[in-house]
């Protein structure tokens, strides 16, 4: 097992990883920007190194600085967390070249899944259902028109190198398709420096359902059931639940088994998430995330498994001691992402936390680096806390979530707590009756 892990991230996820390390008896190195010198995980870590100025490119995306920090602290592994360099295959290569273990899958798998077109082709080959569409980049508009007709409108134009909704356009007719393609190309070029786009069937009212997998380097693979992440705003997840209100045990087992088989065939190891759209009882692969997910705690709450611990173990070459048929998923869990934003306008609200009080009690978990007096920096993502609640049933979980939200105090800045309080009173949400558009419709976007 590792002696010392460098955590190449910030915020609540850096604290999450620090906690797993401490619990495994592994020393931690926090690397941080000048804006995060007072962060909770920096103070709790065994060692900390300031690696650059506040902008991410100077610090959390600064590969030479992170590798240098790992060298001078003698870290034997680097955990990339989520976001930042966590899906950067080049970084994973560099880490390995320096004789340090990258806590994640192989760089090849990251590269494969990082490109949407190659990912889709591979997944299709592995026998998982994909969204009907072209397997290749659009080079010719006329060809695209033919393909779109065969798929059937509406169709979606997506950037090959994209993510987060950038470079995505819906076309509902052949006329619309022409402009959608040129708009998507322009956006893709601007955001990813690559104007490659491709075509896909546009699903009208799908849910976003993702399967968590965990695999070791010895061919053992398990799935840890699904998460329903349909509540999104501008392609950003807002609230997630596990299991999905839309799946029954048979459907879960069936897709789970398919995914496990595919991952084993792929030879993938580490944690990973296969994201699907789910509509009319059918799954359609959208992408695979080759890293920990923000919403991993809800899976931990229903499976009893510490995903970060397992991720570190398999990165160190350990064998999984989990067997699919012995895994039990019990109860229901919901995560609310709490952002430093106006709950109405979603304008970011960085600043000083004057009061902080986290809810407690049975089956209530808070993952957050906040404390009274902490200054939320304006340079990064606005997510400042995750409230995760478990109940024996979905209803119990909702009731517990309601009371936990009542107890949560974050003063001095605006947060999305009121949005979550509103969400859990919506009849559609209470009934589990929502799709990926539901939240935006509710908010009138």
């Amino acid at each position: 097992m590792f002696e010392k892990i460098l955590i190449a991230n910030r915020g609540e996820i850096a604290l999450r990883i620090h906690r797993a390390c401490r619990e495994m008896g592994i020393h931690t190195v926090a690397v941080h920007s000048t804006a995060d010198a007072d962060a909770m995980h920096v103070r709790l870590a065994d060692e900390s190194v300031c690696i650059g100025a506040a902008p991410s490119k100077d610090s959390y995306l600064n590969i030479p600085a992170i590798l240098t920090a790992a060298n001078i602290t003698n870290a034997d592994a680097i955990h990339p967390g989520v976001g930042f360099l966590s899906e950067n295959a080049h970084f994973a290569d560099m880490v390995s070249e320096h004789g340090i273990t990258f806590i994640g899958p192989s760089a090849e798998h990251m590269r494969l899944m990082g490109d949407k077109i190659s990912a889709k082709a591979k997944i299709k080959e592995l026998g998982l259902p994909v969204v009907p569409g072209t397997d290749e980049a659009i080079t010719d508009i006329d060809e695209a028109l033919v393909t779109a007709k065969s798929i059937g409108y509406p169709v979606l134009v997506k950037a090959s190198g994209g993510g987060g909704g950038k470079g995505m356009k819906v076309a509902r007719s052949s006329e619309g398709l022409r402009s959608a393609i040129s708009l998507a190309k322009a956006e893709a070029k601007a955001h990813f420096g690559n104007d490659e786009v491709y075509l896909e069937k546009f699903l009208s009212n799908p849910r976003h359902i993702e399967i968590q997998i965990l695999a070791d380097q010895h061919g053992n693979v398990v799935h840890l059931a699904e998460r329903d992440c349909s509540l999104q705003r501008r392609h950003q997840k807002v609230l997630e639940e596990a299991p999905s209100p839309a799946l029954n045990a048979a459907t879960r087992d069936k897709i789970g088994a398919k995914v496990v088989k595919a991952i084993r065939k792929l030879g993938y190891y580490g944690v990973g998430t296969i994201e699907f759209l789910y509509e009319n009882g059918k799954f359609y692969f959208i992408e695979m995330n080759t890293r920990l997910q923000v919403e991993h705690p809800i899976t931990e709450m229903i499976s009893g498994i510490d995903l970060v611990r397992e991720q570190i173990r398999v990165a160190a070459g350990a064998k999984l001691d989990l067997v699919q048929k012995k895994l039990q998923f019990s109860g229901h869990a919901i995560e609310c992402r709490i952002n430093a934003e106006s709950p109405e306008t979603f304008i970011p609200s960085p600043g000083r936390i004057t009061d902080y009080h986290a809810p407690g009690g049975l089956d209530v978990r808070v993952d957050s680096g906040l404390y009274s007096g902490y200054e939320v920096p304006s340079h990064y993502d606005s997510m400042i806390a995750k409230l995760i609640v478990r109940g024996r049933s979905r209803n119990e979980c909702l009731m517990r979530l309601r009371r936990a939200l009542e107890e949560f105090v974050i003063g001095g800045i605006e947060t999305t707590i009121p949005l979550h309080q509103r969400l859990i009173t919506e009849p559609d949400f209470i009934n589990g009756d929502y799709d990926i558009h539901w939240l935006e419709n509710l908010l009138g976007i």
Partner: protein, 152 residues
């Protein structure tokens, strides 16, 4: 009792000064007269970090050193590290150091080298001055922004 002649305008002026200067207290004494004004700053301690002492495995001496270094980096004459890396005070292990305490230095002169990813990054003097203090030893690991030396 002699009439106590309070100058309200003076207090208001001091209050504004407190605000402007972000002081918490002003005390003034002159020809047998003394005035002092104070204001609480914030309602919580600045950059209070609620971490149990035991959370830190590193010794307190180290922490103390860290604090000192951090204080030094605020020094107006501090030369800070442009990156995380390893500091070298000389070009070769056997060579004399680039500069010594007391040396007069000129703008553009190499003061120290920070090595990162096997590249050597010279840290140059931005103006003329005198080396007051060298804060790192040869081969020390340094953080971004860490004070390397003081030039005056």
């Amino acid at each position: 009792m002699a009439k106590f002649d309070i100058d309200g305008g003076l207090i208001r002026k001091l209050s504004k000064l407190l605000e402007e200067t972000d002081l918490t207290e002003i005390e003034f004494e002159s020809e047998g007269q003394r005035i002092r004004v104070a204001r609480n700053s914030g309602g919580y301690r600045e950059s209070y970090i609620p971490v149990a002492e035991t959370g830190k495995q590193a010794g307190t001496a180290e922490e103390q050193a860290e604090k000192t270094a951090s204080a030094k980096s605020d020094h107006p004459g501090a030369i800070t590290s442009p990156m995380v890396g390893t500091a070298y005070v000389a070009s070769e292990p056997e060579s004399p150091p680039f500069v010594k305490v007391g040396d007069k230095i000129r703008e553009g002169q190499t003061l120290i080298i920070v090595e990162a990813m096997k590249t050597m990054n010279p840290v140059l003097a931005l103006r003329d001055g005198t080396v007051k203090e060298i804060l790192v030893e040869n081969g020390d690991p340094v953080e971004f922004g860490e004070a390397l030396m003081i030039i005056e």
